[in-house]
């Protein structure tokens, strides 16, 4: 516990959170909107980092889990109109089931095979949504009758609050005893088993946690945007952006994923005037990161400070 409190990363994060909370008092509604989306993205990326960085499983289709959560909430709200929290919880549950379905082959497959399955899961979901267009609105998407709030500031604080809660839980997990076991399971499964850990059980747990956070965040996102569409929550490109955000920020740091997401979304906004080419630029930047800075921002920072300490 004391180790945790002494972590400089934690204090920096607290500082940033405090600053972020004050932003609505001096930024425009437009910028707040961009940051709101970035914060939800941050949760997506953190959930991904937990699965990859810690359990060692590469998920090329995080949008499968996010989409499940988002569309469940949206359809529930549109058809039967229960209160928003219920829809969100339902979204989380469905995403959890999806995560389990994804986990079962994962535990028997080697890396690239599993990566393919995750990709296919997204494509399948996309196709299903298009097929059942009557319920889901197909490729155009559907509108959601309720939203969290119409004021930009409220939405911003909802998103920030959600991000902070998720960050605390996920970061805390990563630094806890469970996180340590997860890391060991992901990096050296045989070694972890030799120490008496049921690796399968722990990886399954990691999947479930990642799925729940992804699904809930997805649901919250659509209640912010007021619409649910394939291109925002079930897209392969979006999934890749999530991965890039986590890699950019630094794999296995959890908090780095937030930095990466904010950077990516904000940069994407700056590039919006370029039109369609902005995805191209983002992908190009991401490729450059993979080639030249695979450890990411926070990853490099941590490595440097660790070396200095020794």
């Amino acid at each position: 516990m004391t180790n945790l409190l002494r972590s400089p990363v934690l204090w920096a994060a607290l500082l940033l959170a405090a600053v972020a909370a004050t932003l609505p008092w001096w930024l425009s509604g437009y910028v707040l909107g961009v940051l709101t989306v970035a914060y939800y993205f941050g949760v997506f990326s953190m959930a991904w980092d937990l699965l990859f960085g810690f359990a060692g499983e590469v998920n090329f289709g995080p949008t499968f889990l996010i989409g499940l959560g988002a569309y469940t909430a949206a359809i529930l709200d549109a058809k039967w109109g229960p209160p928003i929290p219920v829809c969100i919880i339902a979204g989380g549950l469905v995403a959890l089931i999806g995560g389990l379905l994804l986990a079962l082959p994962a535990l028997r497959l080697r890396g690239p095979y599993f990566g393919l399955v995750t990709l296919v899961a997204v494509l399948l979901l996309q196709n299903c949504i298009v097929i059942f267009a009557g319920v889901t609105g197909g490729e155009i998407g559907m509108t959601v009758p309720d939203v969290l709030s119409v004021r930009a500031e409220d939405n911003y604080w909802y998103a920030l609050g959600f991000l902070i809660v998720c960050a605390i839980i996920l970061f805390g997990l990563s630094r806890s005893a469970i996180g340590l076991i997860l890391q060991a399971s992901g990096q050296d499964a045989i070694g972890a088993q030799a120490l008496g850990f049921n690796v399968t059980k722990h990886k399954l747990a990691a999947f479930c946690i990642s799925a729940v956070f992804s699904g809930v965040a997805g649901a919250m996102l659509i209640f912010y945007q007021g619409t649910a569409s394939v291109s925002t929550v079930v897209d392969l490109g979006v999934g890749v952006q999530i991965i890039i955000a986590a890699v950019l920020g630094g794999r296995r740091t959890i908090l780095g994923a937030v930095l990466g997401s904010v950077f990516l979304i904000v940069a994407g906004e700056f590039l919006r005037p370029l039109g369609q080419i902005n995805t191209f630029v983002v992908a190009a930047v991401a490729l450059a990161v993979i080639l030249f800075f695979p450890d990411g921002l926070l990853g490099n920072l941590l490595r440097v400070t660790a070396r200095e300490r020794e």
């Binding site: 590469v58 090329f60 079962l104 082959p105 028997r108 497959l109 890396g111 690239p112 095979y113 990566g115 393919l116 399955v117 990709l119 296919v120 899961a121 494509l123 399948l124 196709n127 298009v130 097929i131 392969l236 490109g237 890749v240 991965i243 890039i244 890699v247 039109g275 369609q276 080419i277 995805t279 191209f280 992908a283 190009a284 991401a286 490729l287 993979i290 080639l291 030249f292 800075f293 695979p294 450890d295």
Partner: protein, 291 residues
């Protein structure tokens, strides 16, 4: 009547899929790379072929040839600028190299898709047929172009077989897929063998791309689907097995054609995806898989 049409159309599209899938599996077998930019390479070949043949008015045949060469160029860029730098990067730990290559090719594929959409919009385009005209096969009117495409596919596949099994360079390529270390010990530079593999891949994907443009038409939106079809086929047939990919291509091609004709054209890509999921759950090494 419908069944005959399915038989013929299915054969043509399966042959096309086989060409693309064999290239995909060749690259995996020889250099261990799952190229997720596969759809992008085919797209480049298709769109460049279409543009040069139609818009630049240099004729269908020359346009097709240049389209194939564009595909080859794109394959080279994929290898030299994306795959090889990641494989050689000292900053990435060895266990994660595979994943990074996968992510890198995925990103590159997206870049191609977006770039092509920017240059050519995402409207579907169709290339003018290589051979005009229609013949009647037992009462089914089939475009000559379609038959031509199937023939070309098989000729290329046949040439590939001859190359691998009857030429010395081809045997070296085969050996690389069996035991790269053994080849190094015999004085072969693996980097050159890989370059050869990617060259062949570029040609195969390029031909598949332009033929697809000529047969069904392409749009930049298809990119993901093309890659997904290719790896569905390859996983079903068994990663690394060329004959497996061949058989699987026909299974998938016919499934898709049957779905398009008898159920709904929009559901065309679905069976391949479902089949892939089934295979991965039940028999991950596919029909004839080695690795």
């Amino acid at each position: 009547m419908v069944w005959l049409q399915i038989l013929i159309d299915g054969f043509a599209i399966s042959s096309l899929y086989a060409l693309g899938a064999i290239g995909f599996t060749l690259i995996f077998g020889v250099s261990g790379v799952l190229n997720l930019a596969h759809g992008g390479v085919m797209l480049v070949a298709a769109l460049m072929g279409w543009m040069l043949a139609g818009e630049a008015r240099i004729g269908t045949y020359l346009g097709t040839l240049l389209g194939v060469l564009s595909g080859l160029a794109c394959a080279y860029v994929t290898y030299l600028m994306v795959v090889r730098p990641i494989q050689r990067s000292a900053a990435i730990p060895r266990e994660e190299k595979e994943i990074f290559v996968l992510t890198g090719t995925l990103l590159w594929g997206i870049m191609i898709q977006q770039g092509m959409a920017y240059l050519f919009t995402d409207n579907p385009v169709t290339m003018r047929p290589l051979i005009a005209g229609v013949i009647s096969i037992a009462g089914v009117r089939t475009p000559l172009n379609e038959i031509m495409i199937a023939v070309i596919c098989w000729v290329v596949i046949g040439m590939l077989w001859l190359f691998v099994n009857r030429t010395r360079a081809g045997k070296a390529l085969l050996a690389a897929s069996i035991n790269p270390r053994g080849l190094t010990l015999l004085g072969f530079e693996l980097s050159r063998v890989y370059l050869l593999a990617w060259t062949i891949y570029g040609v195969l994907a390029g031909v598949a791309g332009v033929l697809l443009a000529s047969f069904l038409g392409v749009s930049s939106n298809n990119t993901g689907q093309l890659t997904a079809s290719a790896f569905s086929i390859v996983v079903l047939g068994g990663l690394g097995s060329v004959s497996g990919s061949l058989m699987a291509a026909y299974v998938v091609g016919y499934l898709e054609t049957i779905t398009a004709y008898l159920i709904a054209p929009t559901l065309r890509p679905l069976p391949a995806l479902l089949l892939l999921v089934l295979v991965v759950y039940v028999r991950p090494q596919g029909l004839l898989g080695r690795r």
